[in-house]
Symmetry: C2
Subunit: 276 residues, 2 copies
């Protein structure tokens, strides 16, 4: 197959590298700026540096760009996408993007399958891309209006490039879960490091500082878009978190040992039930 | 030297194993329940299973018990501790324990040096102890009223068993920093996993869920004691965190992209300045 990847950042770049490592497909890269395209070509992550015109050859089109840019790209270039082509995105939220691109896909006759690879790093760009970024990770697939054949094809491809688990979901369920599993930890990390004592932590810290603060090394443009486009579920999770923080704070403030112990035991048991 | 370790949990047990691996000192273990003592003896982590009476032979006494229990143990057994002996604790907070044990040390003529090994796991007990638990970790030393000779001896011992960094501090500075670097991440983790969607996370989560939730597998008895005995600095950090969470929440709620982007950029820059 000919697979076109639009956007060679960490995710698009890792798709390219993984596809070259684990499959024999012909990979064409498209990127707004030329540097990542050149890097991808010279490192063998893509077979060809293409342009929008390459879309007419695509059996699969992977969107590695930010959600808004992906929607815009599809709206602008829908006429170039062959009817047999399967378009997948890689965005971290799904409600808007699935609705918008599915509508275009229906109008122009190609297929669209929502995809969220649950992998990443606190680094960005093609330089951070890795062939094995997805190894063992979960791949969330949002079938939406796509045919079973298209969903099966994407599932098989995801398994081939190393994903360890395929989960099928809806945009609503996905965005609700992601607000908790991914967006909330990013908000926490950013809020955490804003403490005035953070800069003095070296020597006074260990694993728990490192882990909770890790993703504060954030791509603010991407996450601003992701947070605001997933406003309702994220606010809901933030309210739940602040309520739980307040409960623990209140028990500490009162010096109520049995109340505090019961709250902490509840958390421990949730982790134990999950086998974590 | 003869080193007596009271309390063979993960920390006391790791001190025993590390001392046997990296030094030739003779190690005597004391533990309230017999099982960890037998396990330590049969695995070679200690040379001898002792009792309170062993204290009279101690050149160094390491307290591996909870803070309150450590204070109680010293008050009860101070008369058995030789004047040349250096007592160290391993508690996660320092104000109360340093004040209480320093007073006893002064009265009975032995030395006391506060020690906080910045290492641990989300598991407890002697079974979780490791000879290399402290390798590369930071060791916070609170000299207090101890002689320079005693502080130098403990410093040398800490370096010998693998600590990568020695930091000297005061009880007040220590407890303020630890409220941020260690206690707050534990409160966050416990509050985080209390979300009703937490149990459904498998398949929808990756590194950021794993990292922020890790220490929710908490020892609730220990941390209840640590939180309540460090009430003021912890409440201060919780208030700062909740204020920062609210700022991000407000920007998301208003859909104010530039405000949100500026907040996230601030966090990213803090991490970058720290070289993290």
């Amino acid at each position: 197959m000919k697979i076109v990847i639009s956007g060679l950042g960490i995710i698009g770049g890792s798709f390219a590298k993984a596809l070259k490592k684990y499959t024999d497909h012909y990979i064409i890269g498209i990127n707004r700026s030329p540097a990542p395209l050149e890097a991808a070509l010279s490192s063998g992550a893509i077979d060809e540096a293409g342009s929008e015109n390459s879309l007419s050859e695509a059996d699969i089109l992977i969107l590695g760009t930010f959600p808004d840019a992906s929607i815009e790209f599809i709206k602008k270039n829908a006429g170039l996408i062959p009817k047999h082509c399967i378009v997948i995105d890689s965005a971290g939220i799904k409600t808007d993007i699935c609705r918008e691109i599915s509508a275009v896909a229906k109008e122009y006759g190609f297929e669209f399958v929502g995809v969220h690879p649950m992998a990443g790093k606190e680094k960005n760009g093609f330089a951070a891309a890795e062939a094995d970024l997805f190894c063992g990770a979960s791949c969330i697939i949002i079938p939406g209006d796509a045919s079973q054949g298209a969903v099966d094809k994407i599932t098989a491809l995801a398994q081939k490039i190393g994903f360890g688990r395929i989960v099928y979901s809806t945009p609503g369920e996905h965005d609700r879960m992601i607000a908790f599993t991914s967006q909330l930890p990013h908000v926490i990390a950013c809020s955490y490091v804003m403490s005035p004592v953070c800069k003095k932590h070296p020597g006074f810290s260990a694993g728990s500082y490192r882990d909770v603060s890790r993703v504060a090394h954030i791509n603010e443009k991407l996450w601003t878009e992701l947070f605001i486009e997933n406003k309702e579920p994220l606010i809901q999770e933030l309210d739940i978190l602040m309520e739980n923080l307040s409960s623990i704070k209140s028990a500490v403030e009162k010096g109520n040992r049995s109340e505090l112990e019961a709250l902490l035991a509840k958390s421990r048991m949730i982790k134990e039930e999950l086998g974590e």
